[in-house]
Amino acid sequence: MTAALILLVGVTLLIALALMAFARALEVEGTPETDALDALLPQTQCGQCKFDGCRPYADAIARGEADIDRCPPGGQEVIREIALLLGRDVIPLNPEYGHETAREIAFVDEQLCIGCKKCIQACPVDAIVGAPKLMHTVIADECTGCKLCVPVCPVDCITMLPAVTGIRAWKISRPKREPRARID
């Protein structure tokens, strides 16, 4: 009887120790949810979600502090993907945080630019080049269309333009599906 008891306690302790050791050895760094969510977000770094970039927003979603409807650049597609990842319902984009638009990029009117460097400091992805008192320009391929450079410009020389125009922007429309089956 005693022997059995000791054996049981011993085995339990051993398993507990082993589990503790495993937990320590296999500990995952950071939060895997944040990484997975961050991978889905568009990395515009625009702050329209009221967070300081995409990763903080991803982190907030992971911790359940923010809803999944705050990303206008990602739009409905990103909401759908996040919902799929988290096993939640797809919800519409919250208009409080902005509206989904076609991809845009910033354009500096070089005639008006005074070379103040303010937009360079505002750009989250270093997509604007220029030097003090020399005109600046946007590297179109790197611009995420976050619009953060627009309000800081003292001479309002930055405008947002559609990233692709004309026939290249055309997308085949979604074909019609069959009507829902009816049981009359």
Binding site: D38, Q43, P124, A127, G166, I167, W170, K171, I172, E178
Partner: protein, 541 residues
């Protein structure tokens, strides 16, 4: 055919037309899986003489007539150009040059309607023709290509603006560029024109077989390959005979003419290679991966014209057909000629034409206007009347009959893909190899529920490609954002470090000052005492 029906889908009509007309017979042994034997009357067309479209008052040449990046204009408005003169340069490896298709003056470089499923305008170079149709000097890199460096010959093919004339318009020189990791062993000439309405290649094979063989010999030289297999469908015996006779004439034992079954889509590069060799082009791969290069017979003929005559690609043969055309025929037209003028050459429209399709009934798209130019991709113009156009009378739910899977030449499961396309399940779509879909339309053709499967797949593919591009852009943006933050943090750390150093120096400086003061005070005290001492001693004295 059920491409882009302009009739509204009511959904509750019965598909009597589909169910009554005996579902298409499927051939069992075709060399590749699936496919369809489509009823055709096109061979009569190939017997007729070619017609020639007249020189139009202006030619409109879109900058994007090929797969890849649009060309960059190198002419200015008002410039006089000659036929065959390069007017737009290739922009990158996968791109092609564009040449003036007649002599005249460049009047505009602007957006014009082009043959495109969107119906939108695209940048074009407009040339007002002078009626003389004068050619420019032939390119100097011509003559005896046998002694020429293959790379230079290939460059000439590129400079001549040659692209795949079967309809896919992939730049030919790009296709002919060898890769270090593969060994090309066979050139395949695609003479399997499988679309039920198109017969421009058939006409070419019958009437100009020597040009095709001569062109293929040039390609063999470029590729440094000693084997060329010409695949011709069994329903074109005259083409086969003509090509055999031509090979005989050239006395070239590198050539082999092989008859393949006439099954749609035999003319698809992957299916033709499989039918001829038994090898399957790998998923996500190219024919080059298994040592094949496949080009269309019309492309070979164009290469011959470019190298032997030194003349760039400025015209092509277009099949103008359909029961909406009074006298269907194959028409040779300069690129940039409006489609309406081709129709005029063929006697004009029949009375009740209700749809104009460019690119064939199976894979083409409907256009809303006939004032669009012939481009390199334009292999056919099909005018349909309501009787001819197989109307999709209402789309009904998928009944999982599996007909689509039985005919899919890529051995996909269209019904399953349709399911996943509906739920935007991109992972599943890719796992079910949606990108192996060649959009041949076989599944649409047999679907008893009239579902336009290939359109759904085209849409899903675009959606996935756009999402993939977004992801790549996001990855770049993430890196740049992280790097910037890292840099800002480093800058801040450096600034902090500098500040701390200055502070320390200031503190140190303050210390010295204090010490000096203390020392001075001590010194003063010492001097005062010494002075007093001296005074005292003087008194004593």
């Amino acid at each position: 055919m059920n491409i882009d029906s302009d009739k509204p889908d009511t959904g509750d009509e019965l598909a009597t037309d589909v169910l009554s007309d005996e579902l298409t017979p499927i051939k069992k042994h075709s060399g590749f899986y699936g496919g369809l034997v489509l009823p055709t009357a096109k061979h009569i067309l190939a017997e007729q003489p070619l017609r020639y479209a007249p020189l139009p008052a202006e030619v409109v040449l879109p900058l994007s007539q090929h797969a890849g990046m649009p060309a960059t204009p190198i002419v200015t408005v008002g410039q006089a150009v000659l036929r065959g003169e390069c007017i737009a340069a290739a922009n990158g490896f996968v791109s092609a040059t564009i040449h003036a298709s007649s002599s005249g003056t460049v009047t505009a470089i602007e957006e014009r309607p082009v043959p495109h499923p969107s119906g939108l305008n695209a940048p074009c170079i407009v040339i007002e023709t002078d009626g003389a149709d004068r050619w420019c000097e032939p390119d100097p890199v011509v003559g005896d290509y046998h002694t020429e460096d293959p790379v230079r010959v290939r460059q000439r093919v590129r400079d001549a603006g040659i692209v795949g004339l079967g309809g896919a318009v992939f730049p030919t020189s790009t296709k002919l560029t060898a890769r270090a990791d593969t060994n090309v062993h066979t050139l395949i000439l695609n003479g399997a024109e499988c679309d039920p309405d198109i017969s421009c290649d058939e006409t070419l094979m019958r009437q100009r077989p020597d040009d095709i063989i001569a062109g293929a010999r040039i390609v063999l030289h470029v590729l440094q390959v000693n084997r060329c297999v010409i695949g011709v469908e069994e329903d074109k015996p005259q083409c086969e005979d003509a090509l055999r006779a031509s090979v005989e004439k050239f006395d070239d034992d590198r050539f082999e003419v092989v008859r393949v079954p006439a099954i749609y889509p035999e003319g698809s590069e992957r299916q033709l290679i499989q039918a001829l060799s038994g090898y399957e082009v790998p998923s996500n791969g190219l024919p080059l991966d298994i040592g094949f290069v496949c080009i269309n017979v019309a492309t070979a003929a164009a290469i011959n014209t470019a190298i032997t005559d030194g003349r760039s690609l400025t015209e092509r043969t277009v099949t103008v057909t359909g029961d909406g055309i009074k006298e269907p025929a194959n028409v040779v037209a300069r690129l940039g000629t409006p489609i309406s003028s081709l129709v005029d050459v063929c006697g004009g429209y029949a009375e009740d034409v209700n749809r104009l399709v460019v690119g064939g009934a199976m894979m083409g798209f409907a256009v809303g206007d006939d004032n669009i130019p012939v481009i390199k991709a334009c292999n056919s113009v099909l005018a349909m009347t309501p009787e001819h156009a197989r109307q999709a009378t209402g789309i009904r739910p998928c009944i999982r009959c599996g007909e689509c899977a039985r005919v899919c030449p890529s051995r996909l499961l269209p019904q399953q893909l349709y399911w996943y396309a509906g739920s935007h399940d991109h992972d599943k779509l890719e796992r079910y190899n949606i990108f192996d879909c060649i959009e041949c339309g076989c599944c649409d053709y047999v679907c008893p529920s009239n579902i336009r499967l290939s359109q759904h797949f085209r849409f899903a593919k675009t959606e996935i490609a756009i999402r993939e591009a977004d992801r790549q852009r996001a990855a770049v943006a993430r890196d740049r954002f992280d790097n910037r933050n890292k840099r800002l943090m480093e800058e801040k750390a450096r600034r902090d470090e500098r500040l701390a150093e200055k502070k320390q120096q200031a503190v140190a400086a303050a210390d010295i000052h204090q010490r000096r003061q203390v020392i001075q005070e001590v010194m003063q005290r010492v001097r005062a005492r010494e002075a007093a001492d001296n005074h005292n001693s003087a008194d004593i004295r």
